[in-house]
């Protein structure tokens, strides 16, 4: 496939998706908004986790800060929505830079654990600040316009995806992949590893916080427990890894497929939905540990043997 056809298909997909609120039902549009926001989160995580190789559990913290940015600006200061988005994004980016400097010195599990603690700490701090509504939370002015939230989420996902696409072709993105593959090798090859890692963390935080801002205005209620929910971080990792971390489209496909699976399960087998979702995730890890994107590359060559090879390779 040459690039002109690829671009045409991508544009067509965007146009069809953008037109969805005009022909889809309310339920579909609402499903669309939450899926798009999850896809933005997975794509944001992809920058730090997929490309740079740092498994961040701090992205739900950025999401929460973005949500609070909008809530505080609109409820406490009576400012318009977009000011809240800017405020939330600024908080998240500053937080990512200040925290990234010490925390990004850690690697692998240590980095994961350090960032895991973040959400808890920030939630505890927020519940003690009157401006942030303490434990009680904040109620935003309702806006009954799902079509707008949908288009906003789609635009944000488009922005995040274009950013990731740019990463695959830019020197900056090349440096991030080099850090993931071999950090010391990257350092001796002239990559300013600290700067690159902090920038990747901040970029990842930027998209997470913007998703949080849209979510807050859409749901119209915010408290520390829902804003800094660590299971949201787990979700974005599962989605990114399911689709293929370190690829442009993988996290989006992962978010859409898993959202759909979880939606169907929770309406079909209400009580046991969690159980079945767990089975899907375990099967994915066993059969395709490198995500859907890897299947696309290898299935043509090895066929069904691809799955057998994966099971063997991991001695399960």
């Amino acid at each position: 496939m040459n690039s002109a056809i690829r671009i045409a298909i991508a544009l067509l997909a965007v146009v069809v998706l953008a037109a969805l609120p005009w022909f889809g039902s309310d339920v579909i549009v609402q499903f669309g908004i939450s899926t798009l926001l999850l896809a933005v989160l997975a794509q944001g995580w992809n920058i730090i986790g997929g490309y740079t190789g740092y498994p961040s559990f701090g992205n739900s913290t950025f999401f929460g800060l973005g949500a609070y940015g909008v809530a505080v600006a609109m409820v406490q200061w009576n400012m318009p929505f977009w000011v809240g988005m800017v405020f939330g994004a600024a908080m998240a980016v500053c937080f990512a830079i200040l925290l990234g400097l010490p925390v990004l010195r850690l690697k692998g599990h240590y980095f994961a654990i350090a960032t895991l603690a973040l959400a808890q700490v920030v939630a505890a701090i927020v519940s003690n600040i009157p401006l942030f509504g303490q434990n009680i939370g904040l109620v935003l002015p309702p806006l009954n316009n799902d079509a707008m939230f949908y288009e906003l989420s789609l635009a944000l996902l488009l922005m995040a995806t274009l950013t990731v696409w740019w990463l695959t072709r830019s020197r900056f993105g090349f440096g991030l992949i080099a850090i993931r593959e071999n950090e010391e090798g990257a350092a001796v090859m002239g990559v300013n590893t600290t700067l690159y890692k902090v920038m990747a963390f901040a970029l990842s935080g930027l998209f997470s916080s913007l998703a949080g801002g849209i979510q807050a205005y859409w749901i119209t209620f915010l408290d520390p427990a829902s804003a800094f929910d660590i299971s949201l971080n787990v979700k974005m990792i599962i989605m990114a890894v399911f689709g293929g971390p370190g690829t442009v489209l993988g996290p989006i496909v992962g978010a859409v497929v898993l959202s759909a699976v979880s939606e169907v399960l929770s309406s079909e087998v209400t009580n046991a939905a969690g159980l079945f979702f767990g089975i899907v995730v375990v099967a994915a890890v066993v059969l395709m540990p490198r995500g859907l994107a890897d299947i696309v590359h290898h299935f043509r060559k090895s066929g069904w043997r691809y799955f057998v090879q994966n099971i063997r390779a991991h001695r399960i």
Binding site: F174, G175, A178, G185, A187, V188, M189, G190, T193, T194
Partner: protein
Amino acid sequence: MSVAGKSTDGALLRVSGLGAGYGGMPVLHSVSLEVRPAEIVAVVGSNGAGKTTLLRALSRVIAATGQIEFKGRDLVPLTPDQAFAAGLVQVPEGRQLFDRMTVEDNLLMAADRRSDKAVALEDLRRMYALFPRLGERRRQLAGSMSGGEQQMCAMARALMARPILLAIDEMSLGLAPVVVEQLMEVLARIRDEGVTVLLVEQDVHLALSAADRGYVMETGRIVHEGAAKDLIDDPAVRKAYLGL
């Protein structure tokens, strides 16, 4: 210091009183050495003598005290990427390739030091001429090649940065003699093209027979120095390292 100032004439790299270590544990004790333009200098010594630590300190990967004067500029306050930008490029121990990137991407990674894309492609062609094996395997993942090919890839990657001083750590480690011989020929060729080489080796005989001058390290100190051919004949060196 006045004496030191004088001897800078002609030296590309002048290290004096260099100390470095890991955590609170010092490894290098007041190391001093000099590398002049377009020569191959070997630093030899047994396992644990501090050779790798010396290179890591020079390329600023670990903290160091003392002076590292490169082209008349002190490297000690710099970061690894700044040392790289100044032209001191390392082929690190264990190669440290980007395993899941192709050979070509590994090489292009280092072309960062210049921004001209046409020049980078021209350099790429030069590397494939220097190491034909890499040309054959340019689309292969670096981690899937043999040890010798990986070492070629690591050297080509460093050369892509057009180094002024190329510092190579344990080039011969774990490689077949025939491959080592090829790599040595490449070293001689790039030296003739004006690249200065600092070769750190455990294989004392190999290093000293290729080098112009040499330093012998022991427990973090320089214990002998001189012209490479004199060191090979030095009874103490022969006894300690060559088993003769």
